[in-house]
Amino acid sequence: MNAESSPKIVIVDESPIRAAILQEGLREAGFTGVVHISEMQSLLARIYALDPDVILIDLENPSRDVLEQMFQVSRAVRRPIAMFVDQSDSASIQASVDAGVSAYIVDGLKKERIKPILDLCISRFNAFSKLQDELDRTKSALEERKVIDRAKGILMKVKGLTEDEAYVLMRSTAMREKKKIGEIAQSILTASELLK
């Protein structure tokens, strides 16, 4: 693929996993010139040295404001850079802000060449946050398991129950009080802590 069909893309992201996911997606789609910057020190100097056609940055990154300086007329800038989303494209800006990513392009690059990059970016960012949510859910499920196990142990010791009986007691209490079994387990831990 020649330079004409593959613009040079810089990803500015402090999350290495998300950047890797994005980078992989862009490579699969045939965008070969992708560079990831994770270090925010002297960001503009790094970008100028790489001289990219497209810059992608996550919205949680305070250094977005640093990129705004590229629009200013300055001796340091090779050519003016403008944000991709123009006046007519509020759907794109909405989608990218929702996904948490922002794109900047070098002025003159055709819009139809940028669209697939941004679309890909949005879908990968959304995929990443879904992944993050799942990870968080798995983590909290694991935490809950630990709490239930500890509560079970307390019931077995205090009330002389078997493991199964302790579990059944917590489950029926949860159903009766319309609570989650994890909440009941947590109250047992709290109560036992207080009664120590």
Binding site: M40, Q41, S42, L44, L59, E60, N61, P62, S63, R64, D65, V66, L67, E68, Q69, F71, Q72, V73, S74, M83, V85, D86, Q87, S90, I93, Q94, V97, S102
Partner: protein, 388 residues
């Protein structure tokens, strides 16, 4: 019935009127259910306000104007019916640059003309010995910080585009960048100047109130079409912010206000540092020297909350002076129209006041500001990069 509102803010002390309006219940009392959303960049605030994710925002006054003019970004008309703060910034320099300026100064170090001329001599000496140009950090291309630094140094003969480097830095990175030598100085709002002084890496050289007596800093910004569709909600929001501003300005409430602002989900720095800013009693050197000014930050006092179109004209004039846009009479009218004292007066039940005839800005250098003749006004300054 309560109206839900989403309002974006940057964790800075001049977001105080919004934070206190919510956390002390002034917004709820006006029937507003406000969710404050803490943001990390002005670009995010601007974009989320523009596309309607935010109903209102704590915004840099020049960004509201740039957005209405379509400078640097998408054109979205913004109105500012309430000033969240006047002044509040300071210029902090590294201990090395402080020593250099003090050794070159001929006069009172509190006089910005004296320090600006001393800076010019420091710059000239560095050029003679082949040292790198000094680097100054500021928060955004369309920021008061950018214009205040430029106004100050240009008065002493330093061309901000030729003689030094001005770079954008997010406020939370300012102190680190000063400590590790990536910048030699910066202009930023509270609490970052005090943080630099406390860590021993910076001296506060000037309060911005030394440079400009009244400088519109952050505004409460809403989209113009939103303001037209929701006049009653906007009026309620203005009143809530105004009650909060009055509350903040009463000395006996300061400790409580500082505690509210210090919360981790609000500004998230020590209450004591925040209170120094609110009181205008700042530690200015690592050695512990203190300086006091009633004008350091004005939130509601001296009519600070009422937007003044002359302030918007001054900010527009700075955009012209530094080549961010060319002077156009229609653009000047648009810029002045961003600041809406009539919306403020209507919400507060005040009769329209005629603006004071006196100079609204009170700059330390140059002629009194005349919003009706910006071209002649700018011609009075030697250094500038305006496009014709």
């Amino acid at each position: 019935m309560t109206t839900p509102l989403h309002i974006g803010f940057i964790p800075l002390v001049d977001a105080a009127a919004l934070i206190v309006a919510v956390d002390k219940g002034f917004a709820a009392a006006e029937g507003l259910d406000v969710t404050l959303v803490r943001e990390v960049s002005w670009s995010n605030i601007r974009d989320k306000l523009n596309i309607g994710l935010f109903d209102a925002a704590h915004l840099l006054a020049p960004v509201a104007i740039a957005s209405s003019l379509g400078l640097g970004h998408v054109k979205v008309p913004i109105v500012a019916p309430f000033n969240l703060g006047l002044n509040g910034n300071a210029i902090t320099v590294s201990p090395e640059l402080h020593a250099a300026i003090m050794s070159e100064r001929e006069g009172d170090g509190l006089d910005p003309m004296t320090t600006a001329r001393a800076l010019a001599r420091v710059v000239a000496r560095r050029r003679r010995i082949g040292a790198d140009p000094l680097t100054f950090g500021m928060t955004f291309p369309f920021s008061t910080h950018n214009y205040q630094l430029r106004f100050w140094m240009a008065a002493g003969g330093v061309d901000p585009d030729e003689d030094v480097r001005l770079v954008v830095l997010p406020p939370p990175y300012m102190v680190d960048s000063l400590a590790n030598g990536h910048v030699d100085a910066f202009c930023v709002g509270a609490p970052w100047n005090s943080v630099a002084v406390d860590l021993g890496v910076g001296h506060i050289l000037h309060f911005v109130s030394d440079i400009l007596e009244r400088a519109a800093e952050k505004v409460l910004a809403v989209r113009q079409n939103w303001s037209e569709r929701n006049p009653d909600v906007l009026a309620a929001l203005i009143r809530a912010a105004s009650r909060a501003a009055e509350f903040i300005e009463r000395q006996e409430n300061r400790a409580e206000v500082a505690r509210l602002l210090a919360q981790p989900e609000r500004i998230g720095v020590e209450a004591e540092v925040i209170q120094r800013t609110l009181d205008g009693r700042l530690k200015v050197s690592p050695g512990g020297d203190r300086r006091e000014s009633r004008r350091y930050l004005l939130i509601g006092r001296e009519g600070a909350a009422r937007p003044d179109p002359a302030q918007a004209a001054w900010l527009y004039a700075q955009m012209v002076r530094w080549g961010q846009t060319a002077m156009r009479p229609d653009a000047l009218r648009t810029a002045m129209g961003v600041f809406q004292p009539n919306l403020y007066d209507a919400a507060m039940g005040l009769q329209g006041r005629t603006p004071d005839a006196t100079d609204a800005i009170g700059a330390f250098a140059g002629p009194a500001f005349d919003p009706t003749d910006i071209t002649s006004h700018l011609k009075a300054f030697k250094i500038g990069h305006w496009k014709s």
